[in-house]
Amino acid sequence: MAQIRVENLRKSFDQFTAVQGSNFTIDDGTFFAMLGPSGCGKTTTLRMIAGLELPTEGKILLDGEDVTFRRAAARDIAFVFQLFALYPHMNVADNIGFPLKCQGMGRREVRERVQETTRLLRIEHLLSSKTSTLSGGDRQRVALGRAMVRRPKAFLMDEPLGALDAEFRHLMCGELRDLHDRIGATTVYVTHDQLEAMSMADRIAVMNKGRVEQIGSPQEVYDRPASMFVADFIGSPPMNFLRFEGGLRSGDRAIAFYDTSIAIREIREDRATAPLALGIRPEHIRFADAAPVRGEVFGAEYLGTTQIVTVDTAHGRVAARLPSNASVRIGETVGLEFHSERLALFDASSGLAIRTANEGSACHG
């Protein structure tokens, strides 16, 4: 089991820079998710850690050992591919046994290890099936088995659930996390699905345009997004932004929002007048007739336990999550009240969060 360190990692393809100067450390036994939209450099970073791609600059340390320019075969890591990468001409047992055969392990030992692995994954009954006859989930299990069988230092997974359908994906999430809890190997998991990352990871690195924007635990990242990008990317529906212009002084406990004032956690930063954005999660909005921010109900989406109500305000459309028994009429005018302890404030031009009380450890990438 291993610790992975990435120092100043950069990767350029001709004109295009895929990864710019990433730094992070993944502790031994951590389930680490790299989250971001497609093209943000998360996969490239993972592939560099695996040795499938060579960095333009920087260093990769595996258990303190510099492996930056070592071949993938010499790194003792396992990689799980998005499209499973099963060898289509081999059956399940051969697929799982392949890495062991490559090491020159004896036939009997290979068989035992393969059986052990398939038992762990509950796919013993598939040993002699052709991979093409398997369901998506079983393929994924075989791919995992092939990764596990060698007992590598770390697992690297590139959107391993991306090719499965939505319902099944959620099921596999639980399975994967359970597996990790059992084996305890360092796992680096790349995904563009915030739900996957949130539900499985110990730590999440949110990436955008080749840069790590924030690293933290799922709840940290949700509660205290370091940037508007992170705030928008995580959460469904995403955080609402109300844009306004104003100045800030450290110690303020309210902001001047157009002609009213909105209470907020204590501000820890001074700012000259600049475009700002107030970030409100939908679940932190309540309807209150007296509230100063008002808008017209545009639509309501019933979700069972809750409903999402969209309200057109003078400053933009806002989605609020309300209990489903709250009665809402389309077209009525309502006032919006915000949970002041949960509001976020951003510099609208740079997109970065403005420090407020209990900022805690959220760091910038």
Partner: protein, 342 residues
């Protein structure tokens, strides 16, 4: 706009019965969603209404007229396909005009122009009219696809998972948009999807379909709150409803005949141990931001409930007390038993 009525429709492909004895009435101005997993017969139902398939039994009535054996072109229906509904060799304008230029319709040129422009306006794609259909973003393409249906004024719009190929963000945007347009035009829409969120958020009524049979028809709230069967209950709601065998609840009063108890997250309250008999162990806590999913182990069965991430942090391994609040009861066959207790 008009009513569409399906009477006892059956359709077989080889030995497979795709649709079995299905009857359905779609009222004028209604947004009816057929919800079901892939292979449930939703798409076949749509295609039977369109006339792209002919039923083996039963009849299709549109506006009181029996159209069971009419060709698609003469049924006055607009259809939005899941994918590929734009002709890549035509511009956006020509794509939108295509239905109007059909020889069966003979709409005069100026009228076509007007209608296309109106539709484009409605869908916010007026500036793209001269683009090639292939040069659009996914969301724009899907708008044009819907627009191709909207240029006409048919009895009914049939939509076959029109949003499923889009990513989550775009999907939620277009969902609202589509609902708005439907209300504005007062259109009758039959919409097919496997996505419960789409069904719940847009439908005036949902029909839950499985193995070619219509299981329940009702408003989203009706279906969510009073599902007719355990299957229907499991189709709606995230996280999915928990099912517990009734025998595990020996000390809780359940209606007779109850085989399974269906527990939605809101039916399950978790509290610190306080002498209650239902005690579960926290298996894992998922942090999803606005809520935590708490996975509980209760007598070997896994239950999921919600917890506010900012209160009483639960830890794996902790033992908690469970309280049921108005759960759903199902009999041996999976049919719901109306609750009369409490």
């Amino acid at each position: 706009m008009a009513d569409v009525i399906l009477r006892n429709i059956t359709k077989r492909f080889g030995t497979v019965e795709a649709v079995r004895e299905l009857s359905l009435a779609i009222n004028d101005g209604e947004f009816l969603v057929l919800l079901g997993p892939s292979g449930a017969g939703k798409t076949t139902t749509l295609r039977l209404i369109t006339g792209l398939e002919t039923p083996d039994a039963g009849s299709v009535m549109i506006d009181g007229r029996d159209v069971t054996h009419d060709p698609p072109g003469s049924r006055d229906i607009a259809f939005v396909f899941q994918q590929y509904s734009l002709y890549p060799h035509l511009t956006v304008y020509d794509n939108l005009a295509f239905p109007l230029r059909s020889p069966a319709r003979r709409v005069p040129g100026p009228v076509i122009r007007k209608r296309v422009e109106q539709t484009a306006e409605l869908l916010h794609i007026a500036s793209k009219l001269n683009n090639r259909a292939t040069r659009l973003s996914g969301g724009e393409m899907q708008r044009v696809a819907i627009g191709r249906a909207l240029v006409r004024d048919p009895s009914i719009y049939l939509m076959d998972e029109p949003l499923s190929s889009l990513d989550a963000k775009l999907r939620s945007e277009l969902r609202i948009e589509l609902k708005r347009i439907q209300l504005e035009l007062g259109a009758t829409i039959l919409y097919v999807t496997h996505d419960q969120v789409e069904a719940m958020t847009m439908a005036s009524r949902i029909g839950v379909i499985k193995d070619g049979q219509l299981l329940q028809l009702g408003t989203p709230r009706e279906i969510y709150e009073s599902p007719s069967s355990s299957y229907v209950a499991s189709r709606l709601g995230t996280p999915q409803i928990n099912f517990l065998p009734a025998r595990l609840l020996s000390d809780v009063a359940v209606p007779p005949e109850t085989e399974t108890v269906g527990i939605r997250t809101e039916h399950l309250k978790v509290g610190a141990r306080n002498g209650g008999r239902m005690v579960g162990r926290v298996h894992r806590v998922e942090h999803l931001g606005e809520q935590n999913h708490v996975h509980l182990d209760y007598k070997g069965e896994m239950l999921v409930t919600l917890a506010d991430p900012h209160q009483q942090p639960l830890e794996a391994g902790q033992e908690v007390e469970l309280h049921l609040v108005h759960p759903l009861y199902f009999d041996r066959a999976g049919q719901r038993i109306p609750a009369v207790i409490h």
